[in-house]
């Protein structure tokens, strides 16, 4: 059985009405007292955020700046020519110039 458009509308009305009527069901009025008793047991709540929460917030706030900084530094490193410094380093480490005694004395 599939519903006709008219039946759809009728069913919708009936179900909506049944649903809305659920809010009229009576409930006991003892729960607010029990709740306040439980709330009292928790004590005062901290209004200041905890260290971890604060740390997390700061990290997220700084995340875009840090990302930009990393990108900028990567760009700078790529643009900079590191070869000359490397050559100098190699020269110092491997290509030791051995001076003779006469050269040292300037003869």
């Amino acid at each position: 059985m599939s519903f006709s458009k008219e039946e759809h509308e009728k069913l919708k009305g009936i179900l909506r009405q049944a649903y809305q009527e659920k809010e009229n069901l009576e409930m006991g009025d003892l729960w607010p007292d029990a709740l306040m008793h439980r709330i009292g047991g928790f004590g005062a709540i901290q209004s200041a955020p905890r260290f971890l929460t604060m740390f997390e917030q700061i990290v997220w706030q700084l995340a875009p700046v840090i990302s930009l900084l990393i990108l900028a530094l990567t760009g700078v490193l790529l643009v900079l020519d590191l070869a000359p410094e490397y050559d100098v380093f190699q020269l110092l480490m491997n290509g030791k110039e051995e001076f003779t005694l006469s050269q040292m004395l300037g003869v």
């Binding site: 059985m1 009936i14 659920k22 809010e23 729960w31 709740l35 709540i45 209004s47």
Partner: protein
Amino acid sequence: MDNDPYGPNDAEIVRQILAGNVNAFEQLLKKYQNHVLMIIKKHLSHNQAGDTAQDVFIRAYRSLPTFKADSSFEQWLSTIAVRSCYDFWRKHYRSREFPMSSFTEKHQVWLEEALSDESSQSYHERGLQKEAREILDWALDRLSAEDRMVLELVYLEGHSVKEAARLLGWSTANVKVRSFRSRKKLYNLLSKQGKHRRRGT
């Protein structure tokens, strides 16, 4: 809801609570308990409403530091209430603590009669609201927690998709798709029962 224009406003009460005056929470409880109950009683069954109402206010109490003073406390609390109901159904479907209701011969007869022209007029007069609620609960029990919440908010309560999305914390596209699918599932469930009955008779 009591809105005393001379009493402290909600933001002021929240400030007092955060300053250490725990008892000030009772003012918020008294002001909004009916509002929260109205939300919960529609989403949950009668015997689950009391415990969940307490959970809503406890969640609200613990989350007070996150409440923004320039926003509406009622809206903020409504969001907590709706999400608590959703959490309840998610847990419930996972554990299946309560037995599922069944669709009896009485319900089948009721459904056929309700859809026929002559019975629709006397729905209230004949005191058949109970059967309607039972059939609705039977069908909702067979939907997922997500489908159930969307169906209740959009189809049965008449919230806009945007409002339902805000209450549940979902995207509007998600709510729109679920709303369409859940409605289809509901009609399929009910039409199948009608089919069974027609075959049986």
